[in-house]
Every structure is written in structure tokens, then in C-alpha cells.
Amino acid sequence: MQRSCDLNVEKGIAESFSPETSLALWQKMCEVRYFEQGAVDAIKAGEINYQVYLSSGQEAAAASFSLCINKYQVFAQHRAHDIFLTFGAPPEMLRDELRGLPSGCSRGRAGSNCLQYHENGMHMYGHHGLIAENVPLGVGAALGNNKQTLCIFGDGSAEEDYVSPSLGFAATHKLPVLFVCMDNNYSILTKTEVRRSWNMNEVAKSYGLPAVDIADDPWTVLKHTRELSTQLPAFINIRVCRGYWHAGVGIDGTLEWDRFNMVKHELNELGLADKAAKIETSVCKKMEQIWAKEILLKPLEKQLEDI
């Protein structure tokens, strides 16, 4: 399949969803985008000194998952701020995890690429830095408790030795796992076509899993996720664009496509411009407060006292 922003996106699909759903998707996307904007500013100002793995650019898919499978236990990849935030974990805990503080979601011990959160009915397990190690873990968890499970990995992670057998094991034991490849076409900076001749959809299908290959249009992701959630185990390959480097806040240049602005445009077409703008402004303000200088610049001793 040719990589493109409209890969298997039905024309006019957004119109088949309610305005409430479309605006909820947008709200979630804004939460990721403006949280991370605050993080980027803090990094550039030298207020965060640890490595970060940013989700901006790919937040539409996580927003869609959060609207339909937010009760799944999640085994997320290294780039998982999007899942953490859209599934409802507190942004303050992510902010403090990025800063290595005891009030972070893992008490500041694990950092950006190892996110976990187990409160308020949410069960998010991250990985520890070995890409796709979360995939067999998620399959094992589904074997253990038979709960619906979301395993997310990237197109580079998909090549790890332990991913294919995980799909196979889930197929053999009919485990309720949704496998998702967030396909940004890069492993660090090496393109997929340089690394391999096969594609993950064919691999998943060969194990008997229903599989789709789609662009990250949030309405399309929502539609297919809902459909496949009744046919688990299943696989979705989602073509996304990474806004920042593999790690850190560097940018490679112009994005292949800018889903955030495409969704904003689509909301305008749906006649939801005013409501969307209100949501964006409100989320932006909330995230500015979370990243406010008076919080970041407070002496560490005082912050620890507050905690």
C-alpha cells in the first residue's frame, strides 16, 4: 500500500459521526498537542534535562482509541504521551515524570518512554526502552486475565523478533488483543523501505488476524477500531507523521501531512469551527497553567515540600 494521508479514508467519513464525537476527538488531540508544546518550551528553556519522546503529529489515533477502547489494558510503546493523556491520566503527573520528580507517574524514576498509570480504572503499562518489549507482555497479560488489551508499537518495533510470535500466540489462543502499529515510516531516521521488503498487514493476516492499513484520520481510526474490537485478536497499521525526532525536540523539516490542521479544517467544513476554536483555546490555557513558569522555576526543595 502506498503511504499517504488519505490511505483507506472514505470521503466524507467525518460527516457520519456526531458533532459531539468529532469535538471530543478534537479535545483529546488538543490536550496532547498543547501539553507537548509546553514540554518543548520547557526543554528549550533548560527546565527539563531528561530525554523525551513526543507524540505530537500522531495524536489523532490515540484520541480515537480513547473514545472507544479506553477500558482496555494498554501496553504502550516508547512514544506514549498521547495514550497517557487521552486515556485520562493527569497531565501534572506526566509533567513531573518528565522532570524526574517524586510526584511523577513513576515517581520520576522511569521517564518519558516508560509510562505507567494504574488509577481510576486505567491500566497503562509502558515498556522500559526496548522497543516492542511491551507486545509479548501485553499478550501474556491477556492470557493471564482475558481482558481486552491494546498493544502499540512502531514500524521499527514491528521488526523485533518477538513481535511476530506474539501475533501468532494471540491467534492460537484467541486472545482479546488489538495490535496497533503506529507507522511513521522511520526507525530513528532509516526509512522502512530500506529495512525490509514485507509489510505488517500481510504478516498479521498470515496469522489469521483481521487487519487494516489506514491513515491516521481520526474518524477512520475510530470506525475501524470499533469494528475490529469485536473481532479480536486483530491488527491495525496506522500511517502517522512524527512531529519531532525519534527522541528530543528536533524537527526534520516539513511534515508529510499535518493531521492536526487537517482535522481542524475538517471541523470547519462540518460547521464546528467556533466550538472547535473554543475547545482549543480552553485546552491551550489549561496546559499553559500546567507548564507555568512559577511552577517550573520554584526551587526544587519547595516543590518537594509541596509534594
Partner: protein, 300 residues
């Protein structure tokens, strides 16, 4: 029914775990060819893994994270080089990083004399990594003890088994004597040869304290043992794994620091375990233990 041997004890402990504790047992070819030397029961909760080293360990760790306390059977410890990643990088780290737990019971089984990647003991390698509890039970009573401990704990356990001990029905007792010339600490299969080695040495006039090591990590030692070591004035730790960076040297260092006594180490030579003798590089048995003690004591 007479006393159970170690293999039967493992099988019945596992049966209890699966039938009464909602446990799982995962492993490759566990329900065929003798059910892993008669240590696996034919009951519910057994998951035959495909030949997916690495992923298989990941499945076990995932099941542990959601409370199933799986037994993960590794028929030959050598296979833990591949399977080690989810155990080392996830199960052993998840508690310190996130306050979560992944209590997986790794049945790491050793053998002897069946070639370069079916005969190794790797508990020393796993001792290197934080987050594991590591033991090497060689008797039925010891196995029951470590299982009870596991069920009260939330750490992953590396249970270093050895096929040499499967038929054993006896328990081991430490021997500490006032007139000892040396204190010998033994882990894994060399323990099975301790009594005979000690008897041989005594005939030559060398008296030994014999200390059996069940727990390798965390390693603790009683005051009585340290007193015995100090009084004997010389120590030796013997293990079935490779000596360099292995359990024998590591524990010898700890004992030396705790006692001020020079404690020697004896493990495998820095060679591959080849198939045929004399190149098998076997774990120390009677002759090698006796020779090492003579060497330490500068006897002929």
C-alpha cells in the same frame, strides 16, 4: 507412600499451584517426553509455548503482571540467554521503577554432559541484575521452602534447579566443628558431592565445615557460620557455574569481607562445556573439590 524425591516434590508443588492458586505454567515441550523429568503434572493451567524464546518469557512476565504467578519452565538454563530480556529488563525492574510487580517463578533447569548449550548454569549471570531473588534448591524440603517464600513475595524468583538432584530424597545439614581446617560453602550440584568429599578429606586428616547454600541472592550468612569460618581460618565457595564473574567468586568476596578470612572460589574453568570428556568442564565433583582443598591447605 514413601518420602518424595525432589522431582516428585516439584510436580506436586506445581499441581497445588495450578489447581488451588489459579497459577499458570508456561514452557516449551513441557507436556511431552517425560513431562520435564517428571516435574510437571498433567493438570489444568499448563500453557505449551511455541518455540518462541524471548517472546515466551514476555508472555510469562505479562501473566505475572496481572497476578497469575506463573511458573516459567526453562528446560536448559542456556536458553535464558535469549529468554532473559523480558525477565531482566521488565520483570526485575518493574517494582523499583513503577511500584508494580511481576512475580514469575523461573524454573531454570541445569544438566551436565549434554553439550555446549544444554549444560550451563546461569544463576551467576542473573545475580548480576538487580530485582531477582535467586536460589538453588537441591532437596524436597528446600523446594517447599522457596515456594512458600515465593507465594508471600512479589519479586521474580530465579530457581536454579539441577537434574542431578531430582532423585534426591534427603535434606542437607550444615556441619560446623570446632576443629575445622577449612569452611566449604557449596551451591547447586556440587552440594551432592560434599559429604563424600568431606569424608575423603577427613581420612587424610583434613576437617571441614560444610555449609549448604540455598539462597544465592540476597545472600545472608548467620553469625554461627561466620564464627565457624573465622575459626577455621580458610574458606572456599564452590558452585556449578563459571567461576569468572560467577556465584562462587561473588559469594567468596562477600564472605571474605564479612569475616576477614581469605575465601577462595571454585567454579567452572573459563572454557566451553564440550560434549566429550575430558573437555566437558563439569561442575566440581568429589575429586575436584578434594584437590582444591588440598591446594588451598598446601597439602600434597
Amino acid at each position: 507412600m514413601g518420602k518424595r524425591n525432589l522431582a516428585e516434590t516439584i510436580r506436586e508443588t506445581t499441581r497445588r499451584h495450578l489447581e488451588e492458586e489459579n497459577g499458570l505454567l508456561l514452557g516449551q515441550s513441557v507436556s511431552a517426553v517425560g513431562w520435564v523429568n517428571g516435574t510437571v503434572p498433567d493438570t489444568r493451567g499448563i500453557v505449551e509455548l511455541p518455540m518462541t524464546d524471548v517472546a515466551g518469557a514476555g508472555f510469562a512476565v505479562g501473566a505475572a503482571m496481572v497476578g497469575r504467578r506463573p511458573f516459567f519452565v526453562i528446560r536448559f538454563q542456556d536458553f535464558l540467554v535469549l529468554n532473559g530480556s523480558p525477565l531482566i529488563n521488565y520483570a526485575a525492574k518493574v517494582k523499583e521503577l513503577h511500584g508494580q510487580s511481576a512475580p514469575v517463578f523461573i524454573r531454570a533447569i541445569a544438566a551436565e554432559g549434554i553439550g555446549p548449550v544444554h549444560s550451563t548454569v546461569l544463576h551467576g549471570m542473573f545475580m548480576h541484575f538487580p530485582g531477582f531473588k535467586i536460589c538453588a534448591p537441591m532437596s524436597p524440603g528446600e523446594y517447599e521452602k522457596i515456594y512458600t517464600s515465593f507465594m508471600k513475595d512479589d519479586d521474580p524468583y530465579y530457581v536454579s534447579e539441577h537434574r542431578f538432584a531430582y532423585q534426591n530424597k534427603e535434606e542437607f545439614e550444615d556441619i560446623i566443628r570446632d576443629d575445622a581446617d577449612i569452611t566449604i560453602f557449596l551451591a547447586s550440584s556440587p552440594r551432592l558431592f560434599a559429604a563424600e568429599a568431606s569424608k575423603t578429606l577427613e581420612k587424610e586428616g583434613t576437617k571441614c565445615n560444610i555449609i549448604h547454600l540455598l539462597w544465592l541472592k540476597p545472600f545472608t550468612c548467620s553469625e554461627a557460620v561466620i564464627r565457624g569460618l573465622k575459626k577455621s581460618g580458610k574458606g572456599l565457595v564452590i558452585d556449578a557455574g563459571h567461576e569468572i564473574c560467577g556465584a562462587s567468586r561473588s559469594i567468596a568476596y562477600e564472605l571474605g569481607m564479612a569475616s576477614g578470612v581469605m575465601v577462595h572460589a571454585l567454579g567452572l574453568k573459563d572454557h566451553t562445556k564440550c560434549l566429550c570428556p575430558p573437555l566437558q568442564n563439569k561442575a566440581p565433583e568429589v575429586d575436584e573439590i578434594v584437590a582444591k582443598v588440598r591446594n588451598i591447605l598446601k597439602l600434597k
